[in-house]
Subunit: 213 residues, 2 copies
Amino acid sequence: MYAAAMADDKPGPRRGRPGYDLDSLLAIAAEVFNERGYDGTSMDDLARRLGVTKAAIYHHVSGKEELLRLATGRALDGLDGAVRHASALDAPAIDRLEALVRGTIAVLEAELPCVTLLLRVRGNTQAERDALARRRDFDRIVADLVKEAERDGDIRPDVSPAVTARLLFGMVNSLTEWYRPPWRGNGWRGDGSPGDGSLADAVCAIAFDGLRV
Amino acid sequence: MYAAAMADDKPGPRRGRPGYDLDSLLAIAAEVFNERGYDGTSMDDLARRLGVTKAAIYHHVSGKEELLRLATGRALDGLDGAVRHASALDAPAIDRLEALVRGTIAVLEAELPCVTLLLRVRGNTQAERDALARRRDFDRIVADLVKEAERDGDIRPDVSPAVTARLLFGMVNSLTEWYRPPWRGNGWRGDGSPGDGSLADAVCAIAFDGLRV
């Protein structure tokens, strides 16, 4: 269905007057994919939502799959940065793990639509499968950090490291279900600026030390 | 699209030779909805996956929306049962909260496709909006329990009760992303029988007491 739409819709030369730069185009495309599902979104849907012609979108990208690739890439590049930052710390594994959780939440706050899209990718297209492969690399790094922290005696040994890693990042990823940046308005009562760390403080307090007093 | 498909497809009298009872029909329909998305699934897709005629499905239900209503209803009825069980306990709020977490996980283990479907409902149809309304009732009960436990001094006061409730059930709900019943095979290394409590033990250990030693 997608291939047929592409063949029909794609104009020859790239032209048109784009009303968005690539960054805002990606954020809005990711939002529409999240609302309607990637498979259920056509280039017409995107053009309508953006209030531009399809030609204006093709000015930036070759089509829907490239939008997905770039949008998930933005989330994954952010996560890679969080991994590099955490790995470079001269600190025990449990502290590097906490730094990675905080870095992941900062990426999630800054790139909410793209991270949400990444978490919903199913693997029907090559761009989706590539994104899933990079997600699995990230998951492996998390699982290795948890294992190392457990060997250090810093993480409870009664839950397997693989399950601990999944539950920890299950909690982190669940933020995409309800967290909305302050300028979009919603229930979160942090001090307001994304990246101020108050959301990460809440997650780390509960995940590392538990909700029980 | 759905209404048109219904008008075309629905046979007059209910007939056909159903190959499934309603329970297994619902579980498989929920699985297909989860894989393809509810909007992207047609009655033809369901019939093909079940290996029966559409008439055999119409023997049980009036159409796609009734399948969604019954499948999410099964998850919600299970959660209502977990709420009733937890509420009836003569115990402090934090213990009733833990009982509710354990009850929710037992429902998730027993009704994985229907619970997963419930968590993915978007609200495009009346059946979806009704399911979302019942989900909100459940969320309110959780939030009230967390508040009560915080008033008792049993839950850390440095994270708001609303956020604590969301993170706790964010962790619980994230199980649907990777947990698969043992008979379907996957990474979980519990002792094997759904409802044996080992998955709930892991979640409660980390959520209530933290992953840090």
